[in-house]
Every structure is written in C-alpha cells, then in structure tokens.
C-alpha cells in the first residue's frame, strides 16, 4: 500500500506541531473559541454532546496492521477502549480530552495517518470500493486514482474554501459498492471500445436535506484527463456554487438549478482551459503510486482444505455464505468482518478486536485491511485454505457474526448518543431491530436487506438509500422516526420514499417487523429480494401493513 514519502511526513508533522501550539493557546485563554473552532475543525476535532470527538481519515478505507494496532493503542490510552468506524470510511474516537489530542495526532503521524480535511468546506477523504484490488468483478483497482486525488486535493490552495464540503467516491467495478451516485463527484472506472481505461464521471449526487442521485456529465473520460477535468468541475462549482445559503451550497443544488446540459457546457469549457495548462501527472509519481498498489504475491498452491472444512462445519458454511465474497484470484476469498453483533453498536470495535484484526491481516491477509462504508472491516486477500483458521480466530474475538448484507447488518450513524447535531438517537434503534430479528430467527429467510438509520436530516447513516431507511426526528420534544422504503445505494441508485407519518420509538420496531413480514408474505418466492418485491409491488402493501395495524391496535386498546 501507499506509504508516506518525506514530504507527506513533514507536512503532517508540521500540522501537528502547529495544532499543539493552538491547543495550548486555547487552554491558556489566549485564543477564543471563535478563533479556535475553525482551527480544531481543520484537524478533525469536533465538540459533541458529551465530549470532544476526533475523526481520523482512513484514505479510501485502506489500512495495514501497524496502523490498526496504533488505532487500538489510541483507543486504549486516550478513549474508552474502542473506536467507531463511520460511513465515510473514517474512524472516530468519542472521548478524547482536548489536551491529549496533539499527542494522539503524533501517534497517528507515526503510522502515516492524520485527521486533516475530515471537516470543513474542502475536499474530504476520498472513498472507494472496500473490495478494491480484490473483487472478482473489478475492471481496475480504483485506489491509485484515489491516492492521486488525495495528493492532489490535500492542501490544494484553490479548494480550501469551497462553498461547502466536497466528497468524491470511486469504484473500479460495475457493481457499485461505493455509493458513487450519492457523492458530489462519483467516478466509475470503465474501458471504452478501444479497451482504454477511463472514468464515467457523475456529479451532483448527495443525501442530506435534499437527496439527489448524481448525474453523468461525461460518459467516458480518458484516464490522463482526470485531474484537469476535476479541476474544471471544482472551478465551476467554486465560481457558481451558492455561498448565500448553507442548505443550497452543495454542488447538487447547482447542478439541479442550472440543469445538466448547461453545467456540462460550463465544465467542458473550463476543461479545455485546464487541459491546455496541465503538464500531466509526473510519470515517476504515477509509477510510484502504481507500485504501491501492486497486487500482493498470491499463493496459488492448490488445496481442498476450504471445501472440506465447509462440508464439515455448518457455522463456517453459514459464515462463508454471507461474509466471504469472490476474489479475482480463485484461490482467495474476500472476508468481511461484521461489526454488527446482535444488539451491538454498528461500527464499534474494541482495542482488542482491532488487534485481532491486525494479527489476522498480518498472518493471513497480506497485511491489508479495509473499512467499508457499511461500517465493517474487510480482509481483502485471504487464501481460501486459511479461511477456516481466520473464522476460528474471529469467533474467539466475538467477530464472526455471519450477517453481511442481512437485516442485522445495519448502518447507523452515532445519532443523539454522541452527535451534537442529532435530532434523535439511532444506535438504540439499530440495537432493538437487531435484537428483535434475532428473536424471530428469520434473518436467513429474509435474505438481502439493508436497513440504514440516520439521527438527523444530514443523513450520515445513508437512510435515503436503505432498502428500509429510518430517520430520527424531534417531534414536539419526542423522538420520532420516519420510514423510507425502496432506497438503493448501488449502480441503480434510488432515493427511498417516505411511507407517511413517523413512529415513536416504541412503535418503530413493530413497524419494521410488519414491513418485513409483509414482504415475506407477498414475495413471489425466496429468490425475490425485498428490494425486488418493493419494486414490483410498490409502497401500498407495506403502508397497509404499518398504518392499518396501528388503527387495529387503537381499536383494540
């Protein structure tokens, strides 16, 4: 994987030293909060409901065992022994003290990590397919592009004061696991008819208050044109994006208000100018990045150990069904480690669990780990013959929950248990749903179903693209939850539709259960997924299941 060169290292160290000084000056009273706040946000430090929170970037979700161990150390020494992995492929520490944060940043810098550009109106951590470099369906590893974008956008003078934050996601596979259509810019790698690599460029996607599916501005952009083209998009946005109203400042609003054709014209015109002045990415840099992401040396020794173990161990078989995905090398598998144990907090891992994951990556996984936007951890390259051993070790660490893609693999943002912006809690909702479906023992029967929960309209929990989405609101001083159905975050991105009036916390889980039972009753057969059934049936039968039921209960009461 990519390792920092001296320039990166010096840059990060200087930033830590600078921030240490700023923290000292805030603590001794020489900086006011008004002066300090933008400085701390630039370094990923938020003030939440109960404590400060430090958000650490994990560029394109890729880390190695050394870095994971360092996160474990930080969790133990400066937090309460755990960390929270987010939908932006970041990790958040929920309990640092202000005076300790510079020390944490130093520890991060020791392993080439930082918290820069995890906040503010700049280009945020570039996210990528968490199966990058491993997936069987991949055209090309998107991470060299993501790394190039990271270097290009880090401290880019022109793009530090954009109208609003700016998020880029990239996938190298036709099956979109990076939600590219819900980002300010989404890039999908593809090849043209001549077989040359390039990108489909999508702009103006986003969730939040005004959810929008991104639109294709360029069907095929040759690889070499990427940076001037993105600069063109950002220039158009920087000049024309609305700065008068925070809620209208994202590029999705600009695209929507201007219209796709006109935006495209403006971008193409800016692109011509940019390209003329663009000297190209230095060849040695390209080579250096490509080398950093060269595939590991795979061990292709033939072995039937995996197949035999599958036959003998039903727990392993059930784990393999959901948590092992097809690798481009047939001797390998991609192992997803669920951070969604029954009744647990989605995305949380203890320091001990982080160390187990680091050990497994080192021993069996070519030293690679990924964080997925679905708040799970991936071992992207595990020899199939080693999967039984990995599974056994995961079981011991309480990490073998076999539920990837199923009803209890819930995305939930921190909500009002931590987040200062929240209008309601999301974690207890996720816990209650997970516990309920565990009691029902229907999870396998239900099949693929994505539930996503946000604790406010900012939609960090991606509720709009959940097959079942849940949005927590404050309704006259009570936590109340709106349900959306039919959302989809893949290459067929769709924004879910609201069912109608929201539910109070105690009525929410029964409503979710009723929706799922209605699906089980009305599906053609077990091969029709929830999303397919919803698309065929529409919202009506599901609405009936939740609202008529309410009336019945009111009558019975």
């Amino acid at each position: 994987m990519y390792t920092y060169n001296e320039f990166d290292d010096a840059f990060v160290r200087n930033r830590v030293a600078e921030f240490r000084d700023q923290v000292e000056r805030r603590i001794d009273g020489s900086l006011t909060e008004d002066e300090f706040k933008p400085l701390r946000l630039k370094n990923g430090v938020y003030l939440q409901l109960h404590a400060y929170m430090l958000r650490v970037a994990i560029p394109y979700g890729t880390i190695n065992s050394r870095q994971m161990r360092q996160l474990a150390l930080i969790a133990e020494r400066f937090d309460k022994g755990y960390g929270h992995f987010t939908t932006r492929q970041n990790i958040q520490f929920n309990w640092p003290r202000l005076k300790d944060i510079p020390d944490i940043l130093d520890l991060l810098a020791d392993v080439g990590m930082h918290a820069i550009q995890t906040s503010g109106n700049c280009i945020r951590n570039v996210t990528a397919d968490h199966f990058a470099g491993a997936a069987a369906d991949e055209i090309e590893d998107p991470r060299p592009t993501a790394e190039l974008l990271r270097q290009w956008s880090t401290d880019h003078p022109e793009f530090q004061y954009l109208p609003r934050k700016f998020k880029i996601a990239i996938t190298g596979a036709p099956n979109d696991r990076a939600v590219t259509k819900a980002h300010d810019i989404g890039l999908r790698m593809l090849r043209n008819e001549a077989g040359e690599p390039g990108y489909e460029v999508i702009v103006g996607g986003g969730l939040g208050r005004t959810p929008m599916v991104g639109k294709v501005v360029r069907d095929f952009l040759p690889k070499a044109d990427l940076l001037p083209y993105l600069e063109a998009i950002l220039q158009v946005y920087n000049l024309s994006g609305r700065r008068d109203n925070k809620y209208k400042a994202r590029i999705k609003i600009l695209v929507h208000e201007t219209g796709l054709d006109e935006i495209r014209e403006k971008i193409e015109a800016a692109f011509v100018r940019q390209k003329r002045d663009f000297a190209g990415v230095p060849a040695d840099l390209v080579a250096q990045i490509d080398e950093a992401f060269a595939p590991p040396l795979f061990d292709n020794t033939r072995s039937l150990a995996y197949e035999q173990a599958l036959g003998a161990d039903p727990l392993l078989r059930s784990f393999a069904e959901t948590n092992v995905a097809e690798h481009k090398n047939p001797a390998y598998g991609i192992v997803s480690v669920s951070l969604k144990p029954v009744g647990g907090t989605p995305g949380d891992a203890t320091a001990d669990q982080m160390r187990v994951l680091a050990d497994l990556a080192e021993r069996y996984g070519h030293d690679e780990l990924r964080i997925s936007h679905e708040q799970n951890v991936i071992l992207p390259h595990v020899r199939k013959a080693d999967i039984p051993a990995v599974h056994a070790a995961l079981r011991e660490a309480g990490l073998a929950t076999a539920n990837i893609g199923l009803v209890s693999d819930i995305i939930a943002c921190p909500g009002m248990d931590y987040c200062a912006l929240a209008t309601a809690r999301s974690i207890p909702v996720a816990q209650a749903i997970s516990n309920r479906f565990d009691e029902l023992k229907l999870e396998r029967d239900i099949g693929p179903l994505k539930i996503k929960i946000s604790g406010c309209i900012n939609a960090c929990g991606h509720h709009h693209v959940g097959h079942i989405g849940i949005l927590g609101l404050d309704k006259a001083g009570r936590e109340n939850y709106q349900i959306t159905l039919g959302g989809d975050g893949t290459e067929t991105t769709t924004i879910g539709e609201r069912t109608g009036p929201g539910f109070d916390a105690e009525d929410l889980v029964p409503a979710i259960e009723a929706i799922v039972l209605a699906y089980l009753e009305q599906r053609v057969d077990a091969s029709e997924t929830f999303l397919e059934a919803y698309r065929r049936l529409g919202a009506e039968p599901f609405k009936q299941a939740i609202y008529d039921k309410e009336k019945d209960e009111a009558r019975a009461a």
Binding site: L98, D417, R425, I427
Partner: protein, 100 residues
Amino acid sequence: MAREYKPRIVTANDLFEGDAVYFTASHGWSRDHGDAVVAFSQDAADKLLSAANMQQDQVVGPYLAETVMGDDNRPQPLHFREAFRTRGPSNYFHGKQAGA
C-alpha cells in the same frame, strides 16, 4: 397577556473535558444539572447568558435550555436532548452516568 415564561438554565461544554456543565448561582460551573441557577424571566435569562459568555476560557458554547423544577426544587432537564446530556450515551455505561 404575555405567554408564561418557561424557566431556563445556562449550559455549555467544558473546555477541557468537553462534557456538559451547568452555570451556577455563584457564576461557576457544575457537572450536576440540579446545581444550575434558574432564570424565571427573559431578562434574567439574558443576564445569565451574558455572564456565562464571559467565561469562554472555561467552557464552550453556553446556551439557554428550558428546564422544569423538580419536587426537590432543583431544575431538571425538559427536553430529551438535555436529559441525555446529564447521563451520557445509551449504548454504553459511559459519561456522567458512570460518574466519569
């Protein structure tokens, strides 16, 4: 007739630890909501808030929060958000509820 004024307290986050603190009668800060000094009029609330705002070398972001008086005549949180701030998160026994 003017609408009855809902009593308010001033709360903020501690500058060093980041947790919730409450402005007291002696113009100090307590970690216990019940210790907060209560304003029963808009005027008193404004005065409290400006006094609290003078102490930004100790706290971050003071604001007024509605409160109700408990049987012990100490202020209790009204809104669920404020109630959560007096306790800590619901998924772990961390924060104020753990005595931390």
